[in-house]
Symmetry: C2
Subunit: 343 residues, 2 copies
């Protein structure tokens, strides 16, 4: 091991040293990924702009740095577990001096600048396939390999190392990512030899997930408008051909009147806008997803953007004068549902 | 048993005699129901306008009559397994003289006229809840009880006596229906004490089923537009949060290029129009179902109304210039899918 200074920097020629695996973004998903890697015995360095998030990882024995640039010095595999393309762009390419993170070395350059040749970025955010493809090319120009690897499964599965990964990239990228993937995922779908297809398949999943949540809310509103007892309706539909993973998972939030955000309305505003943009680019009209997007947009317009995505049902309730189950009705709500979020 | 004439008519005072159970409509679902009842040892009389359908039931040892009015003389429990409200109306209330069924006794009156007090109609079609509710009242005025009992599960489950029934009606109606329900259904959901709620819950199921089929087609089109191999996409989505019963069941038809109608496009044009009409009546805007309805309407406009409902994908293909898997590609299609239709 190279000698390490007190502030966590490794000095000297480190290109051929054993390097840590970095996890940027210690939110609900990233925290679970970082912990899974640590449990698997890997040398993990966490990074988040939020001091609170860093303290949380350190409280379970994790090691943290405050900026992606510092992290770049210690790692040659970096998992980027952030929310959107803008954040991916920022953590990879913004030089330290461009950020208000006082104390960072302004001469340090960006994370990508600090990663040596042969390093690997595992990009886990839901982004436009075109962005993922271009990102792979930009990183390649910097001598950095990329695995396009959006994740799915929710925070609980993330913390248990049981995520699904929809991945594409060069065989060398898969090989280098193997220890991390083995620690964080129950299933790794290999979808191609270049960045792009991983994000494409994730986008199709998000299309369906978003439509199914909006449809679940709309269907429950239809049932309420006809006077059907919602818990009974849930029981019948989950045994019938109208069922979906999302109906089964999200409707219990409506039955309990509990809109604590496991995955927020604004996540689907974002993801269905990526669907929309991709459709525009491909000249593929997708009116069903477009309608669902408008309902999530309306929910966000009602001030519900940070509530659980099942809160899209409040759009229907507000427009049709329906009374939704209240939180105190929760003892009557159906039990046994899988309460894990999905992002 | 009352003496029976050669033409199947029972003569004399038959009100207190043992009576048969009638099944009107020997299509994919009704044939399965009729056979299930027969296998269970019940005395079944089938009825269909189609001579071919009657011959099919007779070929497996079934007994048939040509008109609902004749059937009404022999039964005090009648299952109506037809496609829509207009057909329910016709089979129950049209007098024989009003139909071009040569040979029927013009003095016979309608099926309902022939059913004695205490008889039971089990209505299995997908109809508007308001229609079902009103039908119950009209039948009650004629001294006939009604179980509102839409069915679900597809022809294969119908033939095995494993349907799901979404039923509502008086406890006496459930009691009288019990032998038939036990023979035809794996699950009977009891949804209320009057006709109406059964159809309401079925309508919510059809909302979701229709939206999910259109969403599945749209999502597969999105994947194709991005160059994703469709069989691989199916494999990933069915293991992910974007899955639905309909995605899993219908996408194999797209992968095989096989649009043999198990359940036809026009069924969802019909059912989503009932959703639309109900929403109009309740002043509930349902933009997601509305978009799905437009896609099925477009498919029907393309001349695909009698193809399998998965053919809604052809709307997307036609508009975006996508190439769908052809029938001869079937050896490459994913196997193991449940190929049962759903109506």
């Amino acid at each position: 091991m190279a000698p390490s200074t007190g502030n966590g920097k490794i000095v000297g020629d480190v290109e051929h040293e054993a390097r840590a695996i970095g996890v940027i973004g210690l939110g609900a998903m990233g925290m679970g990924v970082a912990c899974s890697l640590k449990v698997a015995g890997l040398d993990v360095v966490g990074c988040d702009l939020s001091e609170h998030a860093r303290a949380e990882f350190e409280a379970v024995g994790g090691r943290c740095v405050a900026t992606p640039q510092v992290l770049g010095e210690q790692c040659d595999v970096v998992l980027v577990v952030v929310v959107n393309a803008a954040q991916v762009e920022a953590v990879l390419f913004e030089p330290a001096s461009g950020q208000a993170q006082g104390g960072a070395d302004t001469a340090m350059g960006s994370l990508v600048d600090r990663l040596g040749p042969g390093a690997l970025v595992i990009q886990c955010a839901t982004v436009a396939p075109a962005f993922a493809e271009a990102l792979g090319q930009r990183l390649a120009q910097a001598g950095v390999d990329m695995l396009d690897a959006p994740i799915s499964g929710g925070a609980a599965k993330a913390s248990r190392g049981e995520l699904s990964v929809m991945a594409s990239g060069r065989p060398e990228a898969f090989a280098k990512a193997e220890p991390a993937l083995a620690a964080m995922a129950a299933t790794v779908h290999r979808l191609g030899d270049v960045p792009g297809p991983g994000s494409s398949v994730k986008l199709v999943n998000q299309h369906l997930a978003g439509v199914h949540i909006a449809a679940a809310a709309e269907a429950m509103a239809l049932g309420l408008s006809m006077g059907i007892e919602p818990t009974k309706l849930y029981e019948v539909i989950t045994q019938s051909a109208g069922n979906s993973w999302m109906f089964e998972n999200r409707v219990p939030h409506i039955l309990k009147g509990d809109y604590t955000p496991l995955s927020a309305v604004d996540i689907f505003v974002k993801d269905l806008n990526i669907v929309h943009d991709t459709g525009r680019h491909k000249k593929l009209a997708m009116p069903v997803a477009a309608s669902a997007l408008q309902q999530f947009t309306a929910a966000s317009g009602m001030g519900l953007g940070r509530e659980d995505d099942a809160a899209v049902v409040k759009v229907y309730a507000a427009l049709a004068g329906l009374t939704l189950p209240a939180a105190h009705d929760s003892v009557h709500a159906a039990g046994g549902a899988n309460d894990e979020e999905y992002t």
